[in-house]
Symmetry: C3
Subunit: 132 residues, 3 copies
């Protein structure tokens, strides 16, 4: 089982960062042929998703929709004031699995992997692992 931790820096409160290139590098560095890649975010106000990475309006529209879905409710009691970010993290999830075959990520034509910041700006970590 292979492990790698990568660093991500967000520079806005909410933003999606395309980490597909770093994931591809991990596959290539380790000369992985077939296996299952797991991407895990060890944070409680950041997540990971797979979605269109061609038009940058797609991630910004998703962020817009998530902000409409989970506004900063006055009733929230967590004193740090970031319960909306915790809720978005629960909705999107902190883990994704992607298959690797013949040395390539088995992503669809339009799919990219996004680190999802919901409470930035911050320095964050992403854990990659692979089971062959």
């Amino acid at each position: 089982m292979l492990f790698k931790e990568i660093a991500v820096r967000s520079d806005a409160k909410e933003m999606f960062i395309d980490i597909t290139p770093q994931v591809r590098t991990f596959i290539q560095e380790n000369k992985i042929k077939d296996g299952k890649l797991t991407i895990f975010i060890p944070h409680t106000t950041a997540a990971v998703t797979i979605n269109e990475n061609t038009d940058p309006n797609v991630p910004s529209d998703i962020i817009f929709a998530l902000n409409k879905l989970v506004p900063p409710h006055q009733e929230f009691r967590h004193l740090e004031g970031n319960s909306a970010a915790h809720t978005k993290t629960a909705l999107i999830g902190c883990c994704q699995n992607i298959l690797v075959r013949s040395g390539k990520l088995l992503l669809g034509t339009w799919q990219g992997i996004f680190f999802c910041e919901f409470d930035g700006p911050r320095n964050r970590k992403v854990i990659l692992s692979l089971q062959e």
Copy 2:
């Protein structure tokens, strides 16, 4: 590691298609005893979920609730006009894992596996893989 790609045809804008039978066939064809099955959707406006497949009102109620959650906001900027479908995909997710034990899918009594179309009708693919 075993791979199989199955074809799914949606014939409505939004619909859930029960793919549990095709997944069971994959397990049986390969005489799999124990392992972990991964279901991956290589699209950005379709997802996969596990939920009740006895009463067809359950998937249609979930679709109804998702349409209330993510309406076609006027503020969306993605020109294809399907940002609500991209958002629903991010909320439901494009990957599910299910355990296989003694040749059987370890699903609960009421659970079935649904391909979730959010921008149909379309011809779609579902990727199945299994690690023993």
Copy 3:
């Protein structure tokens, strides 16, 4: 591949139950060094998520936000009356993966694993499995 089923008892309609201690016990009992843990909920109105388990206001704020997101719509047709719980389950998901390295769960500082009850009180099951 290791399997274990644990029992969970919810005593409210909606509640998050921190199952991190039971998951740690599973790792220790089996003297697991490195691997990938899968947590699977075999129910259609309960889910599993990973989020902050320090301030109990975080899970209660997430439950509050989910109830705002998915109210008991009058238009729901499923006769059991729990379509909101089915929808929340679809949003949060019934499966999580966590890495194990050097005998420890690779969780972030603030992360804990929560069983999410959306239609309690009930006796529930959680399936743990590990691939080394």
